[in-house]
């Protein structure tokens, strides 16, 4: 086969090959670094090592130390420096090594990154992407499994997105880096090694930030979820068919902005909704989502919107985490409590 033919083939039908979410993220960083000289990747161990999850694998080798930089070990310093770089017109993409290690950067995030545009009447936008591996299920010791999305989504000025599929990992990260606003990019670490047939040559599938997607249509109730809980919800929906329930599943992908249209439409079609996430329920994303569904869909609801979430406890040690994480049984249990008898 000649090169010309294979190129033409690729243009006609992009070759899909098995790829992990980690590989898709790496490809997104590569393509962003290639596309825009203003893009700079930095963080702890992102250079020679390629990141502890290898998301930045080979970037320093291929783009040089100035484009992918090992920083000193200081998260406030990393994000604070990113603010200055953004002021100068660069587009920093920073990595926080783990969810709980982003907390030292919280002040920079809340006091500056999120509100710089507002403070300066738009003079200093903050096109910063903060990549944060988050969530549990990987047997990590304490401070390695937090779901910290609620802190971020409560902070006006920050976009908060989280992919649940290989394809979205690529698309959302490209969109995040291209955004002129700061984006908290939450990477579900237990899905890093999930695989799908995927082609990076299909940029048309890049979802704009702020669009949810129906992963599974359903008629009797709707599961609304994001990130690491998506595969669990799809599994629950499959299992529910045995009980005679036809569950739909909505993957939010973006918590801020929040796609009320897609969610409301799905819930109006079923009249029943369960929000699923692994971070603590109290004051969590599910509370906001449930409130909005109630506001928008009250007359279509057959039952109160329920939440299935992690318990209101610090993230458990590895040997106990399975009791904390929302699983299929807990989801089906909630579905069973959606007042079916009153139909």
């Amino acid at each position: 086969m000649t090169t010309a033919t294979s190129a033409a083939d690729r243009a006609a039908a992009p070759t899909r090959r098995p790829a992990t979410m980690a590989q898709a993220l790496n490809q997104a960083l590569r393509d962003a670094l290639t596309a825009d000289p203003a893009v700079h990747v930095m963080g702890e161990d992102v250079g020679t090592l390629g990141g502890v999850f290898r998301i930045t694998d080979g970037l320093t080798r291929d783009f040089g130390e100035d484009r992918c930089t090992d920083t000193p070990l200081a998260e406030a310093g990393i994000l604070g420096a990113a603010v200055g770089m953004a002021m100068y017109g660069l587009r920093p993409v920073v990595e926080m090594q783990f969810d709980a290690f982003a907390y030292p950067a919280f002040e920079q995030l809340v006091s500056h990154v999120s509100r710089m545009r507002n403070r300066t009447r738009g003079a200093l936008p903050m096109p910063i992407t903060v990549r944060i591996p988050y969530g549990g299920g990987i047997g990590g010791v304490e401070h390695h499994s937090d779901s910290s999305e609620a802190y971020y989504l409560h902070t006006p000025g920050l976009h908060v997105v989280t992919p649940a599929t290989v394809e979205d990992a690529y698309g959302l990260l490209r969109a995040a880096i291209a955004s002129d606003d700061p984006v908290i990019f939450l990477e579900p670490k237990r899905l890093y090694w999930s695989k799908a047939d995927w082609s990076p040559q299909e940029p048309s599938t890049v979802p704009p930030i702020g669009r949810a997607v129906v992963r599974r249509p359903g008629r009797t109730a709707t599961l609304i979820t994001y990130g690491p809980s998506l595969p669990v919800c799809l599994e629950a929906a499959e299992a529910a068919t045995e009980e005679g329930w036809d569950l739909g599943v909505v993957d939010l992908r973006s918590l801020v902005p929040f796609d009320e249209e897609t969610v409301a439409e799905a819930v109006r079609g079923t009249g029943r909704a369960v929000v699923v996430h692994e971070s603590s329920g109290f004051g969590g994303a599910g509370a906001e989502i449930a409130a909005r569904i109630t506001e928008r869909c009250f007359h279509h609801l057959e039952a109160p919107v329920l939440r299935v979430a992690g318990f209101d406890i610090p993230y458990p040690p590895p040997m106990l985490e399975r009791h904390h994480l929302p699983g299929v049984d807990r989801i089906l249990d909630a579905v069973g409590r959606l007042q079916w008898e009153e139909r």
Binding site: E44, D45, G47, T48, L49, G50, V52, D70, T71, P72, L73, A74, E75, A76, G77, A100, F101, Y103, P104, G139, G140, V141, E142, H143, H144, F282, F311, D312, I313, P314, P316, P317, P318, M319, L320, H323, H324, D329, R330, D333
Partner: protein, 366 residues
């Protein structure tokens, strides 16, 4: 009065006495070692041999799936042991996540010290009983705690000092700087031990600091900085003991940099070949803390084959006991997850606890 007479104008302290030695301080293999107390050296030797065995055993436990992860302190045993032995019973130790060996050397049961890394709970020992703070995973965050505790002891008039451990990487965190500043301003009885082992995971010193040494950082805060060979257990022990005593006696804080090397990968999950040369590791293997002391003891006729064997046997017994106990399944009650969140359960937690109890009952039935 002119500005020259105001407190702001003049330096508040003479910087020169605060400066560290130009070279790391050493005792073993030097003439000064002749004055070292044989009993102390014997104690340090036994502990070092145990410490090395402990590292080997804990690493093996990761391979057997009995530990979720183990950040080894192989090559750094002199620092770990000296830190624990420099303290009196009423003093406090503030370990970093790599310092389970120091915690064990302080007297905590190894199984309890390894609870965090086995994954059955977070902190497995009683901090108040042992006067050992929880192992700190968020780097450098334990340092202000050590300052606060030391300050509290001083306010209470107690002769208590705190010793806080941190890595070279951890010194870049803001908490490190805030802790040193508070300690110096408050004259808190606290000693900071920086174990400079060359790396923060993959990041080498050159990317971590441009300072002449970490010990020099002390000067900027107004406390003495000491630089010591971190593989020379006698030197580290002497420097730390002096600093802890000075702190306890009201002399204020000290920053000690111990120059050492992380012989193993960052943890069992890390691949160090990605970022460092084997020749560098080999150079440090030739400067091994156990061997340095062994050579000294042998040269002074303080260690014969029988004594060496006794130390090895003792270490082996410790390892066998640890192995056996770590192979037993830990008895866990998931309901404990709700117990220690607040002093009293909130109504919501009570509800969630009931839910989990019901789920577990259903699971048992099916």
């Amino acid at each position: 009065m002119t500005v020259l007479d105001t407190p702001a104008w003049r330096p508040r302290a003479d910087a020169a006495p605060l400066l560290p030695d130009p070279e790391p301080y050493r005792l073993l293999g030097t003439p000064a070692a002749a004055d070292l107390d044989p009993a102390l050296l014997g104690l340090l030797y036994g502990q070092l041999v145990r410490g090395r065995r402990y590292n080997v055993q804990a690493t093996a436990l990761t391979k057997q799936g009995r530990l979720a992860v183990y950040p080894s302190s192989t090559g750094q045993e002199a620092c770990e042991i000296a830190a624990a032995l420099a303290l009196r019973p009423r003093d406090w130790l503030f370990p970093s996540y790599r310092d389970t060996l120091a915690v064990v050397a302080r007297g905590v049961d190894p199984v309890e010290a390894l609870t965090l890394l086995r994954g059955d709970w977070h902190t497995g020992y009683d901090s108040r009983e042992h006067r050992v703070a929880p192992l700190s995973t968020p780097l450098a965050t334990q340092l202000p705690h050590a300052v606060g505790l030391a300050h509290a002891a001083r306010l209470s008039g107690d002769p208590v000092a705190a010793l806080a451990m941190v890595g070279d990487g951890g010194t870049s965190e803001g908490d490190f700087h805030e802790a040193l500043n508070f300690a110096a301003v408050w004259k808190a009885p606290v000693v900071f031990l920086v174990q400079n082992n060359g790396f923060a995971i993959s990041v080498p010193l050159a990317k971590q600091t441009a300072a002449p040494t970490f010990a020099h950082k002390a000067v900027g805060y107004g406390m003495p900085g000491r630089l010591v060979d971190g593989n020379d257990v006698a030197a580290v022990h002497e420097v730390l003991t002096e600093a802890v005593e000075r702190a306890r006696d009201g002399g204020g804080p000290t920053l000690v940099e111990a120059v050492t090397y992380r012989i193993d990968a960052h943890t069992n999950a890390d691949d160090a070949t990605r970022y460092r040369e084997e020749s560098e590791v080999a150079a440090w293997r030739a400067h091994d803390p156990v061997e340095l002391l062994e050579r000294e003891l042998t040269a002074r006729g303080l260690l014969d084959d029988a004594a060496r064997q006794r130390a090895l046997d003792d270490a082996e017994a410790m390892a066998a006991d640890l192995r056996e106990r770590m192979h037993a399944e830990p008895q866990l009650d998931p309901m404990e997850l709700f117990e220690h969140v607040y002093a009293d359960l909130t109504p919501q937690l009570r509800e969630q606890a009931a839910q989990l109890r019901a789920e577990m009952a259903a699971e048992r039935q099916s």
